[in-house]
């Protein structure tokens, strides 16, 4: 589904953020992207969307990321941003949810159906008429996720989906993730969350992909995590 070959990222005028990353993600996998603050998680995700400068080759759903495939690829990958305030811009949740599908060519009727279906699946029907500026942070995060799912993307990518959420809303996000099918890439340093939701983990450290493997294996390797400024998930230390 997603292949990176020798991908290197550097911001103009800045030092190199990511160095020769090679990886492949199969369709249907749920992959956790972990690393300390500043490790380059967001940068890697943005590169996949053509929003961060990179060198090397990125292939998504059989298409190489290029200027003329950009629109198609952005339709394939739904990206839930770290800050929902920057993601939602229409007056109401409902209008925000219609925005994506209609821009990607759905008729109003199709878009409305998609929106209803997603709201139903996530149990969020009550959010539909609410104003974006009047809902709580947790509801806004759920609404942002719903907004992306309404586009029916093949890949869902989320940047720190549990940051700044209370335990209840964190749990809601986790349950939602289990409900949605397709390929998922989740960036986080909330390792308990990653352990709970992901099969596979990619560890970024010092600009490199330092580990790639089964979630339980990497997340239980205390020495490895510590070397890259992370800590064992709480649920593993208790045992």
């Amino acid at each position: 589904m997603i292949t990176l070959e020798n991908v290197t990222c550097a911001y103009p005028g800045g030092k190199q953020v990511l160095e020769t990353i090679n990886l492949h993600i199969e369709e249907g996998e749920t992959v956790g992207l972990i690393g300390a603050n500043g490790a380059g998680k967001s940068t890697l995700m943005k590169a996949l969307l053509g929003l961060a400068p990179y060198q090397g080759k990125i292939t998504i759903d059989g298409q190489e990321l290029k200027r003329d495939t950009l629109a198609e690829i952005r339709k394939t990958i739904g990206f839930v941003m770290q800050n929902s305030d920057n993601q939602m811009f229409m007056p109401t949740v409902y209008e925000d949810m219609l925005f994506g599908p209609m821009n990607y060519g759905a008729t109003r009727k199709e878009a409305e159906e998609a929106v209803e279906e997603v709201l139903e699946m996530l149990g969020l029907a009550y959010l539909k008429p609410l104003y974006n500026h009047k809902i709580s942070g947790g509801e806004k995060r759920m609404a942002a996720i719903a907004t992306i799912l309404a586009m029916r993307p093949k890949v869902v990518m989320m940047d720190e989906p549990t940051s700044a959420l209370d335990p209840y809303n964190r749990r809601r996000v986790m349950e939602t993730l289990k409900k949605i099918s397709g390929t998922k890439i989740l960036a986080s340093h909330d390792l308990d969350f990653i352990l709970d939701t992901c099969d596979r983990v990619l560890l970024l450290g010092e600009g490199k992909l330092v580990a790639d493997g089964k979630a339980e294996e990497i997340l239980s390797d205390g020495a490895l995590l510590e070397r890259y400024r992370l800590e064992l998930p709480l649920s593993l230390t208790r045992r």
């Binding site: 811009f89 219609l98 925005f99």
Partner: protein, 255 residues
């Protein structure tokens, strides 16, 4: 600003007029008001009725407009402030007070400014920015311009949000101050620009990631009143009539 979002998605008869019709009326109103000669104050007075009735029907208190736009009011009023000094020709004497041409032209400039402000605010308060852009696209306004309009609107929104956040943060750590001390203006402004630019670009990314390409298909959702254009035509005729015939003076002469 958020309140404007909310006002704009209300459901009064004015909200239900098609955005194109409202845009036409607003633009015509502004053009007609501005077309009044500088000494013709009486005819101009009558035009206050259009926005005032508009606010009434829309269920928005006229005062909201002035509360939201108080920052620009002095600017609007300052436009003609020097006229009385330059133009001292006496045009009328009311109760023994000589009124010069400068005073009259100053008043008429102020009124024009205020009326235009009232009309524009009414449009923005009863029509979402997307609807306005969609209407503009329908009359083949270039994508570049509508996208610019939309982004400017969003940017102003972000700007106001950040100003209020930063002012709160400042006052929490400077409890005994009114306003912001001038020594902090530089860094305040610098921070503001960086933060809003950052948020603005993220909002833009969110738009293009969800397929925004300059069209506003998603905005044409409401069932607009079928009478929109009829109403607009009628009001437009009224406005033209009121421009040609000085109704205030006519009423005055009848009394």
């Amino acid at each position: 600003m958020d309140a404007i979002h909310e006002m704009a998605s209300g459901s009064s008869p004015i909200h239900r007029l098609s955005p194109g019709a409202k845009l036409l009326l607003t633009v015509s109103f502004i053009m007609i008001v501005l077309s009044f000669p500088k000494y013709q104050l009486t005819g101009l007075f009558f035009f206050v009725l259009f926005p005032v009735i508009g606010y009434q029907v829309a269920g928005i208190p006229v005062s909201t407009c002035f509360r939201k736009l108080w920052v620009v009011l002095p600017l609007v009023c300052a436009v003609g402030i020097f006229n009385p000094f330059f133009d001292r020709k006496i045009l009328a004497v009311i109760a023994g007070v000589k009124i010069s041409g400068g005073v009259i032209s100053m008043l008429s400039l102020m009124l024009k400014g205020i009326f235009c402000l009232m009309a524009s605010f009414l449009l923005v308060a009863t029509t979402t920015i997307e609807e306005i852009c969609a209407a503009l696209r329908k009359i083949h306004c270039p994508k570049m311009l509508t996208a610019l309009l939309l982004l400017t609107f969003r940017y102003v929104h972000v700007l106001l949000e950040e100003v209020s956040l930063m002012t709160d943060a400042y006052h929490l750590r400077a409890p005994h101050q009114k306003g912001i001390h001038h020594s902090a203006w530089g860094s305040f402004l610098g921070q503001l620009i960086l933060r809003t630019a950052d948020r603005g670009s993220m909002l833009y990314e969110s738009m293009i990631l969800r397929g925004f390409h300059g069209e506003f298909l998603y905005a044409e959702n409401k069932k607009y009143s079928r009478l929109s254009w009829l109403v607009a035509g009628f009001v437009l005729l009224l406005m033209i009539g009121a421009r040609l015939v000085d109704l205030t003076a006519l009423l005055g002469s009848l009394l």
